[in-house]
């Protein structure tokens, strides 16, 4: 059993850490205020290969594995959790599903542009009545003239404002349990498709999350990704992978909360000494660090299993469950160590406290992770 990163992985982490500290962290507050990730930053990330991490070289991808992806997303999250999520979605919920399930034509059409960041993708599953109950998708895809007509809406679609390409799960048949669902590649300018109102959340304010509307939106037959009836399977497989990214993002949030709190505690004097010298503060930091390390190990183990071609659904769900709880635990204590200052928007921990909260909600709530784990662990 080897817990050490190899040289290439160490390098990956190092480079991502430098980007986080030098390019992301200094702009994170402004991104929150402007509610957007600036185009030049997205371009830079694309140029560095972060939008085609899993994709083969022939599409301009970096042909990296899940461990590299996890290390990168973790480091990026220390600088900007929102940017980390954009990178995570583009790779795990857009590039990867098209690479795995797409036809040769679909790959040729989209993957080079996805890798180059010319085409940002979004993943549209959630609806009003299909939150945790993902199989309950109502958006309809009716067959017509050799293509499909989409009608319905989607909620909470991350990157929707930026995206040129949407992976949309819609109902092609009445079968229960997700067997009637299919996945479609819908381009932004398709008639009948509207990117709607923006969602305003407590945190991750730079993320562009929106509602989608489909009104007699006609797509050709070759917009279907995978086979009819495979939509939920494709979505859930994508989410298995993206949960590694989500977990890594949560680890990064926790780690940065720790870093900020440690630095503050070392500099802040009360009762004539740095508060870091108080046992209670030390133990707070120790509990944070212990959980963060455990979360990181769970995450990297899930990534290593995925890279080895083994089943990793349970492990990815465990990693996401534990890491997101840990991010909130660490963000709360990190803020607490800052006292009144931590409650003010001038301090990074204030933003991390709000950003952390959604990690237990999106890409499957903690309850959904437990359902996944129970389903795998407790069957037969």
């Amino acid at each position: 059993m080897d817990f050490n990163l190899n040289d290439e992985q160490k390098m990956m982490r190092q480079v991502a850490a430098e980007i986080a500290d030098e390019q992301l962290a200094p702009r994170a507050e402004q991104m929150e205020e402007d509610r957007e990730i600036p185009a030049d930053l997205l371009r830079f990330l694309a140029e560095q290969g972060y939008f085609g991490m899993f994709l083969p070289e022939r599409y301009g991808g970096a042909e990296l594995d899940y461990v590299a992806y996890a290390l990168t997303v973790e480091e990026f999250a220390r600088g900007s959790p929102a940017v980390a999520l954009v990178v995570s979605v583009q790779n795990a919920l857009v590039g990867k599903p098209i690479l795995t399930h797409g036809t040769a034509e679909q790959k040729e059409k989209y993957l080079s542009r996805v890798a180059a960041g010319e085409l940002i993708g979004a993943f549209a599953l959630t609806e009003e009545e299909a939150g945790s109950d993902a199989a309950n998708v109502q958006t309809a895809a009716a067959k017509k003239d050799g293509g499909y007509v989409l009608n319905g809406h989607k909620l909470y679609v991350t990157n929707a404002g930026l995206a040129g390409l949407f992976l949309v799960v819609a109902r092609t048949g009445p079968e229960a349990g997700g067997k009637g669902l299919s996945c479609f590649l819908v381009e932004r300018d398709t008639p009948g498709f509207t990117v709607g109102a923006r969602f305003d959340g407590m945190g991750m304010c730079a993320l562009d999350v929106r509602r989608l509307e489909f009104e007699n939106c006609e797509v050709p037959a070759d917009a279907l990704l995978g086979a009819e009836g495979e939509g939920l399977k494709i979505a859930l497989a994508g989410l298995d992978g993206s949960r590694i990214g989500c977990a890594a993002q949560a680890v990064g949030i926790g780690q940065q909360a720790f870093n900020e709190a440690k630095r503050y505690a070392a500099g802040r004097e009360q009762f004539g000494r740095p508060i870091l010298s108080f046992q209670a503060i030390q133990f707070y930091l120790v509990e944070m660090a212990t959980r963060i390390d455990a979360a990181r190990l769970l995450t990297l183990r899930a990534a290593a299993l995925a890279d080895a071609g083994e089943r990793f659904s349970t492990e990815a769900a465990m990693a996401k469950l534990y890491a997101s709880e840990t991010a909130n635990f660490a963000a709360n204590l990190g803020l607490q160590i800052h006292g009144g200052y931590g409650y003010m928007k001038d301090y990074v921990v204030e933003r991390f406290f709000r950003d952390a909260r959604v990690t237990e909600i999106y890409e499957g709530t903690s309850e959904v992770q437990k359902l996944v784990i129970a389903g795998n662990l407790l069957k037969g």
Binding site: E129, S132, F199, F271, N332, G339, G340, D346, I361, T365
Partner: protein
């Protein structure tokens, strides 16, 4: 008295009023970072600003239990309004009633009671947070006037578009080695010469409850504005903070109650997997834990209030109430968000605001860490070597 059942009619009245005059404005107060005049005036009419002030000074003359129920219910409607009332009642009216002379009572109490004047409690400084003995702001007598110089930060109820009076904790004995034994409390109106607001803090939550820096630059007030005895400011602010802890605990209970009610409603009505999510055991247990925590915290708060009303020591109990209620308030708000999923994170829904608001209760008026110091100091009898 044990179950506080006799207060339930009283609570119902206060809750109905808070639902009518505060709750409808809570989202706007948060979004605009401002409590509008109409809300200030409507709250003023209820008499809640002066809940504990004696009737002869225009107060309602309520006991502490009634007062904290009011703070709880106001906070259930809006944390920002709740904290304003908590500061006014516990940190201003209470120490003024206890230590003010006749002249001070006549001058200030009726206006504080009506809400015509808002009181701010100027204790914290950049280098004196949990460590109040390190107060640097100094006051010296020049003839018949105090001349005050220094800086305060994170001061609540510094409402700039409203008449404000600050109770400033200042060093009146220049010998700094005396620590908290050399500080006094001085009444400083915000329109006194040399009183200047600095930055208004950009807070995560409790937006609308103004928090500011205050700069005293040769700020002059009459000698008579000394509140309580010279160099006994420590006693005054400790008494105020003890009382304040109960009301911050009440605030956390009110915010927790609001979150709990939303979670219950959502669990009953949100259908996933063909049934209300409340039919799932995981959600049932979450709700059970939340409800138990809120009830336990509420009784901790009321029992500290009842001790105060009975004239008994309550320092430990007030610290326990604040520590526990603020912790479970955050946990309950956290869980209520979880029950709601993405809706809980959505700014168009009240839960994310409640979660941001309640976090302050673990920090303001003594962090949880300070509460634990207070509690353990009163419980542990360590032999000195």
């Amino acid at each position: 008295m044990l179950d506080y059942i006799e207060y339930e009619d009283f609570r119902a009245g206060v809750r109905a009023k808070a639902d009518e005059i505060v709750a409808p404005y809570a989202a706007a107060i948060d979004a605009d970072d401002h409590i509008p005049d109409d809300v200030m005036k409507a709250v003023g009419k209820t008499g809640w600003f002066g809940a504990t002030a004696p009737a002869e000074y225009g107060g309602l003359g309520w006991d502490t239990v009634r007062y904290v129920i009011m703070v709880e219910e106001a906070s259930r409607a809006s944390g920002s309004v709740g904290v304003m009332l908590a500061v006014q009642g516990s940190l201003i009216i209470y120490p003024l009633s206890k230590y003010g002379n006749d002249e001070q009572l006549r001058t200030y109490l009726p206006k504080f009671a009506s809400g015509e004047l808002v009181g701010s409690f100027g204790l914290t400084e950049p280098g004196a947070g949990s460590d109040a003995g390190n107060t640097q702001t100094a006051a010296a007598l020049d003839g018949d006037e105090w001349v005050i110089n220094g800086q305060k930060c994170f001061i609540t109820n510094t409402k700039r578009d409203w008449p404000v009076v600050c109770f400033a904790t200042v060093r009146t004995d220049p010998d700094k080695s005396k620590g908290v034994r050399g500080v006094s409390s001085i009444i400083v109106p915000a329109n006194a010469p040399g009183f200047n607001y600095g930055r208004k803090e950009n807070k995560m939550g409790l937006r609308g409850s103004d928090t500011s820096e205050i700069f005293f630059e040769n700020c002059r007030v009459p000698k008579e504005n000394l509140l309580g005895e010279l160099n006994e400011g420590f006693k005054l602010f400790m008494v105020a903070l003890d009382a304040g802890r109960i009301s911050i605990g009440a605030m956390a209970v009110g915010l927790g109650q609001a979150a709990l009610e939303l979670a219950i409603k959502h669990a009953e009505t949100r259908v996933q997997f063909g049934k209300p999510i409340g039919a799932q055991q995981a959600i049932q247990w979450k709700i059970a834990e939340m409800a138990t925590k809120v009830r336990a915290a509420r009784f901790l708060v009321y029992s500290a209030a009842a001790l105060k009303d009975a004239g008994k020591p309550y320092t430990t109990e007030a610290a326990m109430a604040k520590y526990y209620a603020s912790q479970i308030g955050r946990e309950v708000a956290y869980d209520a968000i979880q029950v709601h999923g993405a809706l809980g994170y959505d700014k168009s829904y009240p839960l994310e605001r409640i979660y941001r608001d309640v976090k302050l209760d673990e920090i303001g008026e003594g962090t949880s860490e300070i509460q634990k110091i207070v509690i353990s100091r009163n419980i542990l009898q360590l032999k000195k070597k």
